[in-house]
């Protein structure tokens, strides 16, 4: 493993940029900081955006994003390409850490954050084609989520972005646990159905 050749060129190195995430992760597992930098640049907006949506506070979101990227850097060898894309894996790590961070804060903060929609105003300027595509993807995904009945959308948001358990949600909404379970299931099934015909962004 020590014989792996490392590149010491700047971040603008075109060779690495042409590699897919999966190939980059093999280099990252061997300790290649330049390969990791390309992964960072490719996904930092998605990572920070998810962390910010969950934490609701820039400092906490930066902390979560930093922890998640370092976890990816340090456990690159554990990436298993049969279990999904690097992006999905990375965002899964971000989600877990952001929820952990949120659960350390007070219930009041969490409710506020789960309800917050004001982040829209802070959206980054569009730069590259990929970013424009991601922005469009975000808009259309928001539209898809927006088509869910309000009750269903709310349980998904409280669970996924608010970090509440189904029992807590049932209590907060003063609804039977079975109803909450049913809403979660219906919401995810509708989202999945809405996603199917879509083409993924490379």
């Amino acid at each position: 493993m020590a014989t792996h050749r490392r590149s010491h060129a700047g971040s603008g190195e075109p060779g690495l940029r042409q590699l897919g995430d999966e190939d980059l992760m093999q280099l990252v597992a061997g300790g290649d900081a330049r390969a990791f930098e390309v992964i960072y640049e490719r996904h930092c907006t998605a990572v920070f955006s998810l962390a910010y949506r969950i934490c609701g506070v820039r400092a906490a979101a930066e902390e979560v994003a930093q922890e998640a990227f370092l976890a990816i850097w340090r456990s690159g060898a554990r990436y298993d390409r049969t279990r999904g894309s690097v992006r999905t894996w990375l965002l899964g790590v971000v989600h877990n850490r952001a929820i952990d961070s949120l659960r350390r804060s007070t219930a009041h903060d969490r409710l506020r954050v789960a309800d917050e929609q004001a982040a829209e105003r802070l959206e980054a300027p569009e730069r590259t084609e990929v970013e424009v595509a991601r922005r469009d993807e975000a808009r259309s995904m928001r539209a898809v989520v927006g088509t869910l009945p309000r009750d269903q959308r709310r349980v998904v948001e409280l669970a996924y972005f608010g970090g509440f358990t189904q029992e807590q949600i049932a209590e907060m909404l003063d609804a039977p646990l079975g109803t909450v379970k049913g809403r979660m299931r219906l919401a995810l099934e509708k989202l999945r159905a809405a996603l199917e015909p879509k083409e993924a962004i490379p």
């Binding site: 300790g31 907006t45 902390e63 340090r74 998904v156 972005f161 358990t165 379970k181 299931r185």
Partner: protein
């Protein structure tokens, strides 16, 4: 063999599980069921495609350039350590010394002395500050040197004001009837005890306030801890 009632109950939990909304025990129970139930595994995979798309629905916000600088500074230093570790693979076990090391080893120039005394598995002293907001957490990479058990450990100190916690990753237990003990050292005075711990991965609260210029140290001590260090610190973080 899984009964139909069990299956039905498990199936009802899948959406909450995919969303991360099951309490830990229920999650563990479901995972057990999933191992033996292909139908539930397939359903979960299908529900997960919806959950995996949720991050794409949030407003896209670019992080500040400072975040990249901060992440890459740690990555570069660890990449350098990995290269160095490739060259000095075997780290001999440190011999315990019971002298009052702090009177003879100046923390201001620990590198040469520590390196001479032990095989140094990893040295990095890096202060990273995420700018913005006085209450921001400061993360300081700790220097980790012998014993061999610490060779793969990653340790950092997180400071918010004068409250500190040590974030430990991959540090094997110190052995039977032993604990790792935290110390806060202010200037040239003797280190003061700041809590004991036995944790492989997790965070440990430093029970004394830590101020700019203080050093947070970790030594191996007999179970129950000591009132003054009896071994040389193998983790050092300069606040």
């Amino acid at each position: 063999v899984t009964g139909a009632a069990d299956h039905h109950g498990a199936s009802e939990q899948l959406a909450a599980y995919a969303l991360g909304a099951l309490p830990a025990e229920e999650g563990a129970q479901l995972r057990e069921h999933l191992e033996g139930c292909r139908k539930c595994r397939a359903e979960l995979a299908s529900l997960r495609t919806a959950v995996d798309a949720l991050p794409a629905s949030v407003p896209q916000i670019e992080p500040r350039p400072a975040l990249k600088e901060s992440v890459m500074a740690i990555v570069e230093s660890e990449a350098a350590l990995l290269r160095a570790a490739g060259e000095t693979a075997d780290v001999p076990e440190r011999r315990e010394r019971r002298r009052r090391w702090w009177s003879e080893v100046s923390l201001a120039r620990p590198r040469a002395r520590l390196a001479a005394a032990f095989a140094v598995a990893a040295i990095t002293a890096l202060v990273l500050v995420l700018p913005g907001g006085g209450s921001a957490t400061r993360t300081i990479q700790a220097q980790v040197s012998g014993p061999a058990r610490a060779a793969g450990a990653r340790v950092s100190l997180q400071l918010r004001g004068s409250r500190a916690q040590l974030v430990v990753n991959g540090l094997p237990a110190p052995g039977a009837n032993r604990v790792d003990e935290l110390w806060v050292k202010h200037g040239s005075s003797a280190p003061l005890p700041a809590g004991t711990f036995v944790v492989g991965t997790g965070s440990v609260v430093v029970t004394r306030p830590v101020r700019m210029g203080d050093a947070v140290l970790v030594t191996v001590e007999p179970g129950g801890g000591s009132s003054a260090p009896t071994t040389v610190p193998f983790i050092v973080a300069n606040a």
